[in-house]
Amino acid sequence: MLAPAAAGHAVVVDRLTKAYKAVVAVDSISFALDTGACTALLGGNGAGKTTTISTIMGLVEPTGGRVTVLGAEMPRQRHLVLHRINFESPYVNMPMRLTVRQNLNVFGMLYGCGDVAGRIRSLAEELELTDFLDRPTGKLSSGQKTRVALAKSLINNPEILLLDEPTASLDPDTADWVRGRLERYRRDRGATVLLASHNMGEVERLCDRVIMMKAGRIVDDDTPAKLVARYGRSNLEEVFLDIARGRGEAREAAQ
């Protein structure tokens, strides 16, 4: 049975540690995601973002600490909530031989959607997939594939959406289009979104909170505007560089 979700929190990460033998990928981090909020998880390569997201998804077992999603402890109780979550990640593909419609049909059934055909129709209209619904997924352009992956991630109207680099390898126009759709989905659904991205403009546009990670630890956590102000910079990219290159710590020490 599910424990009641912590008040107003869709995800609670409590002293999460993940070690792969001697390598500590995530080192006792804690944070909670407010229901309906969009939070960015930022950090350089190897900062621990993917491990954190994978643990939230129940794909990785923590070495220490606890992760609860919609009141379910992950990964032990993941099956109680997986139908309410979805994700998009560059680490996975959808079967390339299947047409877009076949892929969405399979995932609609897996996620227990009632009227799968109707859901595919409405997603196809919403995400402008109608023209290539019956083409093999592997024959689409990367922009089209991203839209299909987005459709898969929305097939079950998820309450929590985990996005790992949702606009990587997209041209600026398509990336902007995807961000617009994500904004609209979050607003209409009241969904909680956790986003890992290296595109700081994207983070500033979509997220109301930023968690900065470095070497498996959280080094800062605030709204994009407050972070920019606190570091005395003009945008989030400069803040990111300060943190990645250790200038933030140097500034704090000097102050």
């Binding site: 794909l59 139908h83 079967p95 076949q102 959607c113 309450e159 659904r189």
Partner: protein, 273 residues
């Protein structure tokens, strides 16, 4: 847009159907895959069938035992392809980098396994049914005439194939595609030991107990008893089933342990070696 989340179901036939459908879509869109399912069983059956004809011309015993080689090769193929069909469906998820999507979906491990079992039956049916019809056409040998015995033979061979397939799937999850060769070759370890083409008594005495630990040995002995002595050995089928129940239980446990280990090591998203 509907804002309802779908309901949670502890066990869902629909999720199993989704997995089966996903693989059915692949098979029906790819004639080389269909050809591959039929090609090798057909070549094997023809080769052993002609060999049997030749040997039977020079031996009274083999003349009496008409069909044993063809039955053996078809039953061996059921064992081999029962496992391979299970493993290939699993490998297809890894090749397609779709494992993360499945592991993050509400599909439960038991449903995943059930879907892979169904797919191994589908793949085998596509490859083997035409071969049994060819055996009638070329050699007048009707495997289907075995009736209930055939059902029990096939059932036991599938159980062994699925058990081995499960362990291979667990190793693939835990070790990535570095364990891929096991999927293709592991069953050949059984080939000399389960006495597909010869009786257990041919083996050296010290090796015979090893053969009798393996469930398929009872099936092949049972097949020879049926075709040569015209006797159905129900006792052999029961022993095969008992051993298969143990083997399958151990395989399920092994798969769960390897899946847990994969979760601990963070290898569920890995597709490489």
């Amino acid at each position: 847009m509907s804002m309802q989340s779908p309901a949670y179901a502890a066990f869902s036939l629909r999720r199993i159907a989704a997995l089966v459908l996903r693989h059915w879509y692949v098979i029906k869109s790819s004639w080389p895959r269909v050809f591959d399912l039929m090609y090798w069983p057909m070549v094997q059956m023809l080769m052993w069938g002609f060999l049997q004809l030749y040997v039977a011309e020079h031996s009274n015993f083999f003349a009496r035992a008409a069909g044993t080689f063809i039955a053996a090769v078809i039953l061996w193929d059921i064992l081999f392809r029962g496992q391979l069909g299970f493993s290939i469906s699993f490998l297809e998820e890894m090749y397609a980098r779709n494992m993360g999507n499945l592991m993050m979906s509400p599909l439960r491990p038991v449903e995943f396994i059930a879907g892979l079992m169904i797919m191994s039956i589908v793949r085998l049916a596509i490859g083997t049914i035409p071969v049994t019809l060819l055996a009638i056409a070329f050699f007048g040998f009707n495997l289907w005439a075995m009736g209930l015995a055939l059902f029990l033979f096939v059932f036991n061979l599938f159980l062994t194939g699925w058990a081995v397939g499960l362990v291979v799937a667990g190793l693939l999850l835990r070790n990535g595609l570095g364990a891929e060769n096991l999927a293709w070759g592991i069953m050949f370890l059984f080939l000399p030991l389960v006495c597909v083409y010869y009786p257990v008594s041919v083996l050296p005495e010290w090796l015979q107990p090893v053969a009798w630990v393996l469930p398929p040995t009872y099936v092949f002995e049972g097949m020879r008893a049926l075709l040569i002595e015209k006797v159905f050995r129900g006792d052999l089928m029961l022993q095969a089933f008992a051993l298969n129940a143990v083997l399958f239980g151990v395989a399920v446990l092994g798969f769960q342990l390897l899946l847990r280990s994969a979760r601990r090591e963070g290898t569920l998203l890995q597709g490489g070696d």
